[in-house]
Symmetry: C2
Subunit: 211 residues, 2 copies
């Protein structure tokens, strides 16, 4: 209880800071390997001329993900959580010290790959976007409802693999909307770029609405 | 600290009970959707004439996984953890009360889909077997080392999808063995049954060695 209270206080501080700077902040969540970093790589590359991004990466170990984002020319910083299973507001508050916030339009925080724990920790974000790949099975919204209930956006990724897996896209949408009726759902492939335009337009609109 | 101490005491009680009954116990771990339940379905179906299985299922919500296993005719019981991110020895101690342990050769405990937290909680098992699907990326052993270090067995699943994803099988094996040099690695597909025989032989031998 105390842990979450302290976290909520720090998250509120983060949120106020991000609002002062007119920065749209997205907490990007998923199971390990759903395609979060690939989504960020594509997004910052395709929208980098229109929006100024900064990316915080959270992982138990390595700087692999931040290195991938830095390779696109986008400011990126890696947070290693060690045995920790989620990012928290304290880590994010320090993490953004590596960026020039006045030069940032959109801050993407890629959380530790985990469909459970990160759902409970507010980071000061405007939105939670969860990525679910079609290779994980269409039952995830029902089995891990806490994360889907906490999400504003759901990106169903890797739809290029649909012919090779047992995944019912309609059922998955139904399950997710049953848990969170106002959930905004995108069906995408980071590989062949299906659906990415709709996601890009939505992101640009969300940023306009914040500023 | 206290939490883990109490859990370790209960795990030791579980382990003693399982040894008394000559039961081989496997703690099955992975990210959400790597194919744990599918692996169990195939294993209990193909080996059900040679070994008597019982299966404990751990999920935040639903009894979907236990229902899938029960449909094979194998004793199965579902534990729902609510907002909990892992099974613990207390839950397992009570869960097995739903089984007739003297009639059981192998107990498979499918943990909550999570590549972080379950690594720290001993359930009283003999072995930890982690499933990693090729759709998650070959970097997982480096990014989530705690789980791989704690594992005795690694099953690289969904190798039928290799032609459609960027996954370097050799690199992944190297990363995993770098973390845990004595790791036993199987490359399988639950769909087309590649490599399953090697896994079945290993399981039968492990049971023989326990009894
Ligand atoms: N077929 C297919 N594979 C994809 C797609 N997007 C990502 N991948 C692959 O999925 C694997 C994991 O991608 P990442 O972007 O590293 O996933 P992640 O969610 O960032 O993983 P963690 O940060 O470790 O939790 C990689 O092999 C990617 O190439 C897609 O649209 N289609
Ligand atoms: N292509 C392919 N898909 C597979 C394979 N094994 C499992 N799947 C699919 O992967 C998805 C998830 O499988 P599950 O067995 O439910 O995964 P799980 O690890 O038990 O999932 P949770 O219990 O929710 O964590 C389903 O759509 C399966 O059909 C395989 O060998 N190849
Ligand atoms: Mg990543
Ligand atoms: Mg399962």
């Amino acid at each position: 209880k105390n842990l979450l209270d302290k976290n909520d206080r720090l998250a509120a501080q983060n949120r106020a800071r991000f609002s002062d700077e007119d920065i749209l902040v997205i907490n990007l969540l998923s199971s390990p390997g759903s395609g979060k970093t690939t989504l960020v790589e594509e997004t910052v590359t395709d929208l980098g001329a229109q929006l100024r991004f900064a990316v915080l990466e959270g992982d138990q170990q390595t700087s692999h993900d931040a290195d991938r984002i830095a390779a696109t020319g986008t400011p990126a910083h890696q947070i290693n959580t060690g045995s920790g299973c989620h990012l928290d507001a304290h880590m994010v508050g320090h993490g953004v010290e590596h960026f020039t916030l006045p030069d940032t339009d959109v801050l993407i925080i890629e959380n530790v790959g985990n469909l459970v724990c990160p759902a409970s920790f507010d980071l000061g974000e405007d939105l939670k976007a969860t990525v679910l790949s079609v290779t994980e099975g269409d039952d995830k919204p029902l089995k891990y409802p806490q994360m889907f209930r906490a999400s504003d956006v759901l990106l169903i990724n890797k739809i290029d693999l649909l012919p090779h897996v047992r995944f019912d896209l309609d059922a998955c949408r139904r399950y997710a909307l049953g848990i969170r009726p106002d959930l905004k759902i995108f069906e995408i492939s980071c590989y062949d770029k299906t659906g990415m335009n709709l996601w890009y337009n939505w992101l640009k609109t969300a940023h306009k609405q914040k500023t």
